[in-house]
Amino acid sequence: MQLLLDGFAAALTPVNLMYALIGVTLGTLVGVLPGIGPAMTVALLLPITFTVPPASAFIMFAGIYYGGMYGGSTTSILLNTPGESSSMITALEGNKMARRGRAAQALATAAIGSFVAGTIATALLVVAAPAVVSFAISFGPADYFALAILAFTAVSSVLSRSVVRGLASLGFGLVIGLIGIDQQTGQARLTLGLRQLLDGVDVVIVAVGLFALGEALYVASRLRHAAPEVVPVGRAWMGRSDWGRSWRPWLRGTALGFPFGALPGGGAEIPTFLSYAAEKRLARGVAREEYGKGAIEGVAGPEAANNASAAGTLVPLLTLGLPTSATAAIMLAAFQQYGLQPGPQLFDHNPALVWGMIASLFIGNAMLLVLNLPLAPLWARLLLIPRPYLYAGIVVFAALGVYALKASVVDLVVLFVLGLLGFAMRRFGLPVAPAVIGMILGPMAEIQLRRALAIGAGDVSVLVESWVSVVLLLLSGVALLTPLFRRLWARRAA
């Protein structure tokens, strides 16, 4: 508790408050704008923040992450098509509410629900993190390797309807992660003889290529030529009955979102869907009649769930160094850029950084509520930016961010190749997140594997010596086989 108070003291300095404000504003901006998301934004900011002290940088990154979750809901509600994958479910009821003239109430329940969920979930993070740390302190290399395997398999099998496509995406990431000099022996691997590849492919290039350029090419291939239909809206507000109908879904959404965010492969998609389904089942009276035509419960629950999952994601990221979403993976890369390794030791060695960041989440949440309730009409106007300018601008900033790394044209060509890959992955339904996670977690998995096998002097059984690693590896197997079971079940039911 004292540590958290120290964290607040650190986060409340004017400089850090400014970084938090920049973070949540940028986050809301990229959340509202189609085509870019928090993962890519954090990646683009990596090189620029190199001169900023780590605590301030992470306060800003966390603000972007939370802000992205807020902004996504605005797009889902006001635009007639789903926005970020985490707010896809919100569009179902949210857009129908908006069309019935209840846009203000939909935006209000989303913003207030996000605030409530974000605050409760951050409090849960405060409680859960030290508990996980005290458990994980005894983890050996074999346990960390098993943990990475679980993250790989869970992310690949959950995010896509087809396991093989998820695994293919993961494989792309792992291969990209192999490029460059081997950290332990100094041997060059897969560099094609190019000097520029000796340092490996920078995470900025991978994230920007797969997300920004991939999206721009994909949009170019199938641009919707009709102008987007944005529902006009005034100031976000809601009445007494809306409050009465919203608070229970908020709490249920939080309860679903937090644990799923913390699980490898959980992400925001599953809890938002579960929350939507739960509210549908629990709907009584007016809500039951309205469900499918714009019920406020169907916005309140999923929006709370996706914000709570963002806080949940930070538990494994900070305590174990395990990213469970693309944005978390890039934040992990940011830690590495500062020479920090998230994990139990981080809480010991850098308590000021960790607790400052957690405290800033509470502050950022409050800022987001202020930014989103009265300013909703302003954010909505961003949706009217003509798409040719929007995507041309995204590509210009992508090129800028990548060129700024090393002033190398070779990097721009690598960026283009990765953009083509991102395009192909979108077109054929391969999820992008496993590739980003594989690229960043792959090299760490290799180090832990080699460390574990060195301890065992080449004996492979060290990998299953502790019960922790056995359980984790069994869970990985279950993650891979789940879709198969699901298919068998469906067949039996049919």
Binding site: S162, A392, V395
Partner: protein, 169 residues
């Protein structure tokens, strides 16, 4: 990369097969490409070749399953996005033009400098993507290029090439 259906392809050909074969090929490449990495460096434990072998082997396996899945008629769901019309036929001309504009930008960047190249990049892309007013697109392009240059070079100390405008700005 998978190319457009040209109609001359055999009947079992599907664009997605191209991507599946890329996965398979990449697996083979990883295994073959790391054969020359010497393993003598480490006596105890594993050398730098072990993990690539694992990844490469897994990629080959995944590639085989992927090819089999595509041949058996499996399909991924194209990603949904705000500005994408999932039912529209793929517009390969636009994809080619976007690629051309981007690679052209990469080619002339060091020569012409950021301001001119980035202006051309923005203008080219917005026209390809269907900007209605060319003059307005050109105006935005120049403003964007100049402000980013001033902000990042003068403000944040990022290195961007001045090119032919060296000395002017």
């Amino acid at each position: 990369m998978p190319s457009a259906d040209s109609g001359k392809r055999p009947r079992w050909w599907r664009p997605e097969l191209g991507l599946a074969l890329v996965v398979l090929g990449l697996g083979v490449f990883v295994v073959v490409g790391t054969l020359d990495v010497s393993a003598a460096a480490s006596q105890l434990g594993l050398g730098p070749r072990f993990f690539p072998m694992l990844v490469g082997g897994a990629m080959v396996l995944i590639g085989l399953f992927y090819v089999a899945d595509v041949l058996r008629g499996g399909r991924g769901d194209p990603e949904e996005s705000e500005d994408v019309d999932p039912d529209a036929p793929a517009d390969w001309r636009s994809v080619g033009l976007v690629s051309g504009v981007f690679l052209g930008f990469a080619a002339v960047l060091d020569l012409l400098g950021w301001i001119i190249s980035a202006s051309l990049l923005f203008f080219g892309l917005s026209v390809v993507l269907g900007a209605a007013h060319r003059l307005r697109a050109a105006g935005i392009a120049v403003i964007l290029a100049v402000t980013t240059y001033l902000l990042f070079v003068k403000g944040l100390g990022v290195t961007l090439p001045a090119g032919v405008l060296r000395g002017v700005i």
